[in-house]
């Protein structure tokens, strides 16, 4: 009797696992919790496959050490790839004002107005306590995901700033400038290094950088570090209880009096507007392209397409009229030297004066 039950239990368990991993290779688990497919009899699922040997190719060359070094600039949590250099919080603050604030807001508070979707860098605290917040009741506060409260590793910050920022002109920051910006961003997030507060005079260098411990370093699952990292991911993703799975119920599955939630405030500002009509499009009258248009789109629109940090936006007659009160020469000069949040030439230092003026002319022409 016991044997029989035992067998029953085993066979039930086997059926369950066969259903769950019911693929061509039962029992074998893919790292993503999904099915695994193999080439069998010249077929890979429904695809026919050439099964001849595919080895011993001689194409390409071995990259030189210099070539690898030129591209291998990622920075890993253990410091691999982190260059030498140093920068103070104060220097970072200056750089931030000129190169970052127009999008990320004062003290990293995020984009304002029409650019409110630009990322917030700091919520003024490194506390992770809001991360359990859920907006599942009206007026509830959501979790605050900024660098200090969310990012697990500071290496990401150095790597990303140097390779991807400033947004319109990435890969333009020196190692020292990047250290300074990292120091400033950590300071506005109220992150301490080795028990030390990052005040204006604080100078960040490689040695100190390696001591940074981000507050949310343990906030992520599964654990991907070390030799068991991929195995941990596999185990996690092979259990759909970790991320939600349905049930294949066919009859009387839920209470027939279902609760229907409708759209409260519909979002339908689409470009182009929604239509399924099949009518001929009205021809647009296309004039000559202004020589400054391309320059504007490449270098100026990031701020001037909207009113970022007080930048007069393209098409805003009032804003441009008031700018032009000073006279066109003053407008050129201010732009070339920088004004308010705008760095010299808007950060597009490669533009010649003539090109810069042409872009300004384009904006003015389209804002009358």
């Amino acid at each position: 009797m016991f044997m029989l039950d035992h067998k029953k239990i085993i066979s039930t368990a086997m059926i369950a696992s066969a259903i769950f991993f019911g693929t061509a290779h039962a029992g074998e688990q893919a790292i993503d919790g999904g099915a695994i497919y193999k080439v069998k009899d010249g077929m890979y699922t429904s695809y026919a496959v050439n099964t001849q040997d595919k080895k011993d190719f001689k194409y390409g060359k071995v990259p030189s050490k210099t070539e690898i070094a030129a591209w291998d600039i990622d920075v890993m949590p253990d410091g691999t790839g982190l260059p030498e250099g140093k920068g103070s919080v104060e220097r970072g603050d200056e750089l931030y004002e000129v190169k970052c604030g127009m999008c990320h807001g004062d003290f990293g508070s995020g984009g304002q107005g029409s650019r409110s979707t630009y990322p917030t860098l700091s919520v003024g605290s490194a506390s992770t306590e809001t991360l359990t917040n859920q907006r599942n009741v009206p007026d509830a506060d959501g979790p605050k995901r900024a660098i200090g409260t969310y990012w697990p590793q500071a290496s990401t910050l150095f790597w990303y700033i140097q390779s991807g920022m400033p947004f319109p002109h990435p890969k333009s920051l020196s190692n020292d400038d990047t250290y300074a910006l990292v120091a400033y961003i950590l300071s506005i997030n109220e992150i301490e290094i080795d028990g030390e507060t990052l005040d204006d005079e604080y100078v960040l260098d490689r040695e100190k950088f390696l001591k940074i411990k981000m507050p949310n370093v343990d906030g992520f699952i599964p654990n991907i570090d070390g030799p068991e990292g991929p195995a941990n991911v596999k185990k996690f993703l092979n259990d759909p209880k970790n991320y939600g799975n349905g049930t294949r119920c066919m009859k009387d599955c839920i209470d027939p009096k279902v609760n229907i939630v409708r759209i409260k405030v519909e979002i339908n500002a689409f470009e182009p507007p929604m239509s399924v009509e099949r009518t001929m499009k009205e021809e647009k009258v296309t004039g000559k392209v202004h020589p400054g248009q391309k320059l504007y789109e490449a270098s100026c629109s990031v701020c001037h397409a909207t009113d970022a940090m007080g930048a007069p936006n393209l098409g805003n007659k009032d804003a441009w009229a008031s700018v032009l009160e000073k006279g066109i020469d003053k407008v050129y000069a201010n732009g070339i030297n920088g004004i308010n949040a705008m760095p010299p030439k808007g950060g597009a230092i490669d533009l010649t004066e003539a090109q810069f003026k042409s872009a300004v002319d384009y904006m003015i022409k389209n804002s009358k």
Binding site: G244, M250, T279
Partner: protein, 445 residues
Amino acid sequence: MTKMTKTSEQDLDIVSEMNMAQSSRRNFFRKAAVYSASAVAATSILSPVKLSAEDDSAIIHHKKWGTTLGDPVTKNHYGIPSPYEHNNTRRTTALLASGDNYASISMCPIHEQEGIITPNGLFFNRSHGGVAHVDPKDYRLMIHGLLEKPLLLTLDELKRYPSVTRIHFIECPANGGPEWRGPQFNSIQFAKGMMSSAEWTGVLIKDLIADLGLKKEALWMLAEGCDNSEMGRTVPVEKVLDDAMIVWAQNGEALRPEQGYPVRLMLPGWEGNLQVKWLKRLEFSKEPFYAKEETAKYTVLTPSGKAIQHFYPLEVNSIITSPCPEKPWTDLKKGDLVEIQGLAWSGQGTIKHVDITFDGGVNWKEVSLKGLVLPKSWTRFSYMYRYEGKPLLLASRAVDDSGHVQPTIDQETAVVGVEAVYHRNSICTWEVTDKGVVNNVHVRS
């Protein structure tokens, strides 16, 4: 001359030919007669004596395209869609832009999508620093790190490797992400259009690195793009040695710039952002890289305060594409037979079943799959329905061959809450009103 029949026109032609040799004066009069007859014929030649109101003028009258020459073959050496199809287009909304239109997304018009291949110009477009335009002559792919032999390839060299061609969808894990806390878009294009599908051609990475001596301790591979954002992600070597590809073609032609021309990574079934575009570098390593788009973003924050990282696959999913808010049933009459159809997909396997419900999920019935049923691919489903003009709560639910079942909203949010942003694959319900209008709703118990 008032009523010219086809026969009389032909007669005139013959007469005209027979008299070719005759005097130019007589010829002139005869030709003139033919021309004036043709002019009348153009409008009335096929007309019966009397037009009735039921007769379709689209049939009765000759159309411009039938009575004039079309375009010469020299026009549009690269073809473009009919100008009448201009509304079948990608669309954007400011809500889904990261401040501007560079780190942003455009949505695929899946309500107009037929079959399982998205035309290249309609493929959804997501980039983190604008669409890069890479000169193929200066394109290089570097493969280095924990290998016996690092490798640098030009585009031509890369394309010498043996290729495979596979059909796979690509989906942004934020697809449907604006609707965790309730429906927002009365549009399938915006509710579910962060995905598209294509036939991709390239080399399996396991074939590409077979000669390079991958070291045993290599567990991860960084894939990095050469665009403005230098977008990078860490990929486990296990996937690299399974079905990962480096692709250079999309639906039979070179990748579009929006899809990473000249070369992108293809990780079948996994998050769109992992399929790194404008791919420049693969680095094999012992430890993961902690790139920005796998820490700050694309992590799923759960109610415990812990966030799921390295959440690669798009889970089993489906949506009814006809009807949908853009393609309602307002033109149907009671008793009409109509096809309900939609798309099902899973990044974790092959679609096995699709069920649909008419009552918001109380009762379900299995429907047919149709067309190709391929792993990690869009799969069409179909059901013939007798329209009754009564209100419905219409939804679909997909099951894949790895045992995953598309969850209800309640089932999904019970585990991951409403702040996840990414990986929302719960059941989508259309409310069909008695007038045939279709609205995006959420069904909660």
